[in-house]
Amino acid sequence: MIDINLLGEKQKAKPEITPIETPALRAKAERPGRTGRIFSLKTILLFFIAVAILLSAWRYKDILHYGNDIVTYVKTLIEEQLEPVSGPELETEPVTEPETEQPPPVEQPKPEEPETVEEPVAEPAATAVWDYGRSIEHINSYTAMVRSLPQNADYNVISVSRNSITAEIEAVNEAQMVEIQNAIASAFPVYSLEFITKGMVLRVWGTLKPGTELPEVSSSEEYATPEANRNAINSLSKQHKLTIKEQGEATQTERENVLLLPGWMKFSGKEADVLKFLDGIKEKGLSINITKISGQSKNRSESNESSELNFDFEIIM
């Protein structure tokens, strides 16, 4: 059962594993007067027996030691008797023991290690690999959509995030709406587009095509620490006239066995500058992931055809 409650009035835990209903379980569940007891009588009895054995062992430890010594002495004696005698080797046919099927070793459950509070790691074991191809693809998708729009069409949101793109575009009349639909559908590289034409607002939802073949970028050791990485990105953003709008200190987290470095940033800049910035990142081997590119038509430049296209984008490092 998918247990989602947006009112948030429940404790969330791991998925509940419901035992297979058996007559015994059912009988147990239905037995009256059994609720609220933490230990059963059987458990208590076993506990007392265990305590009695321990006390006896403590009292008679000398006897046990003596018993141990006897065992050691006997073992030594047997080993001495079995030591090979040097001399001519007798040819004997090897005795083949009948093969007996050994039961598979029973795996003992490993005792759970006590949770320890880990010190913050200064240098990560592995850094998030920057998906250069995906970042370029995001920018291309974003700009392709904006450029396909007629100049007087207002868009409230165009947002590229992960593998999807969403947009809300207002048209001035039905003719323009058709024009917009056709323009987007022909120009924009998506799998599918859906439109809601209610109130002259087009809502576009699409899925990006898989990433184009672009060279992989490996992260540089020089910028392996979060601080060095962040400083280098800061410096590059200034060099390429990008404005840092917001930045946050995210907690260190791990996803798909990749340690994500702290920090995210929101930039605002022109398309050409952003692309130069990305080139710089690629050359230096910095680690970032562009997670979202979005914009509104109020940030749009006058020339649709030029690369003077303002937009915001975020990265995670």
Partner: protein
């Protein structure tokens, strides 16, 4: 197995023009019975626009109150499902090593990637899927949407306990009624007034979902046009999700409806491929007073989401 945690529960699913209600009673899955079913074309249909109207919650709440009174339904424990468009459903991997606080921070950040407003405006919940590597479903909605339904419930005189997303209710209804093999690839297809929603499952496990909005062009030949879209999307989704290398189609596709104009049977009869009707009462029993009034062979699939709200 489904567990009914309350003696009686109401599941309320709002369609674009209709309200679907299921009331269940008794305590265990074995005795799980449907006590009441209502399919009402509301005088004041719920719409997204109402969320911004101050009087919207009061209007719908009062109408619901009258409806319950007219049908002698006194159950107060209620669950409501939201149209998926009012929420964000995101499936993401996560680390089991994260503490509760770290996970919360992580989820806030993830949700922020999908919304354009302040995260403080949103409420969210998550469900850990039983998968390896671990994945979870993150579901968020605007707090003002929840406020609307709280206010509506107050006027209706019901005790709102759960708010979830409609397609997730449908998954729960499926789990109660069907027992697929764990590796079977299943598609649940909701046929709504203006959209088709595809929910993809492997066995009973959620894989993903996809929505296709219907434009006016389908109205001329609704059944065949929609059927064409269903067939096309089932093929595309199967390939997109890379569900199997051995075959190229779902093992089974179940149709259910949230519209009252077209029966699912019309689509099944017109289809070239094998499609099934999602019967929310396949394994669910009816209370004695309802037993004779229900046509078990008819299309009752409009109650899928409402029934799914009363289990879990």
């Amino acid at each position: 197995m489904a567990k009914i945690t309350k003696n009686r529960r109401l599941g309320l699913s709002f369609g674009s023009e209709d309200l679907f209600l299921v009331e269940t009673k008794e305590e265990t899955a074995k005795n799980f019975k449907v006590a009441a079913l209502l399919n009402v074309t509301s005088e004041i249909p719920f719409s997204v626009d109402m969320l911004t109207q101050e009087s919207g919650a009061k209007m719908i709440g009062s109408e619901l109150k009258n409806l319950l009174e007219r049908n002698n339904i006194t159950t107060k424990n209620a669950s409501i499902s939201l149209d998926f468009g009012l929420g964000n459903i995101i499936k993401i991997p996560y680390s089991e090593k994260l503490s509760e606080k770290e996970l919360s921070t992580h989820l806030s950040w993830e949700l922020q990637q999908y919304i354009d407003d302040d995260i403080a405006e949103y409420a969210y919940d998550f469900y850990k899927l039983d998968k390896s590597p671990p994945e979870l479903l993150l579901v968020g909605t605007r707090k003002k949407v929840l406020e609307f339904f709280r206010e509506m419930s107050r006027h209706a005189g019901i005790d709102l306990q759960v708010v979830t997303i409609d397609l997730l209710s449908a998954v729960n209804a499926f789990e109660v009624n069907y027992k697929p093999y764990p590796n079977e690839k299943i598609a649940l297809v909701e046929i709504g007034e203006q959209k088709l929603v595809f929910t993809l499952l492997e066995g009973n496990s959620f894989i993903g979902y996809h929505c296709v909005f219907l434009d006016d062009s389908v109205q001329n030949d609704y059944v065949n046009s929609v059927l064409e879209l269903i067939t096309l999307n089932l093929k595309t989704l199967f390939n997109d999700y890379e569900l199997s290398t051995d075959k190229n189609e779902f093992d089974r596709a179940y149709l259910y409806r949230t519209n009252t104009k077209y029966s699912v049977m019309e689509f099944i009869e017109a289809a070239d491929q094998e499609l099934y009707m999602f019967n929310p009462f396949e394994l669910v029993r009816f209370d004695a007073n309802l037993q004779d009034k229900i046509n078990h062979l008819a299309d009752n699939s409009e109650y899928v989401e409402a029934l799914g709200l009363t289990v879990g």
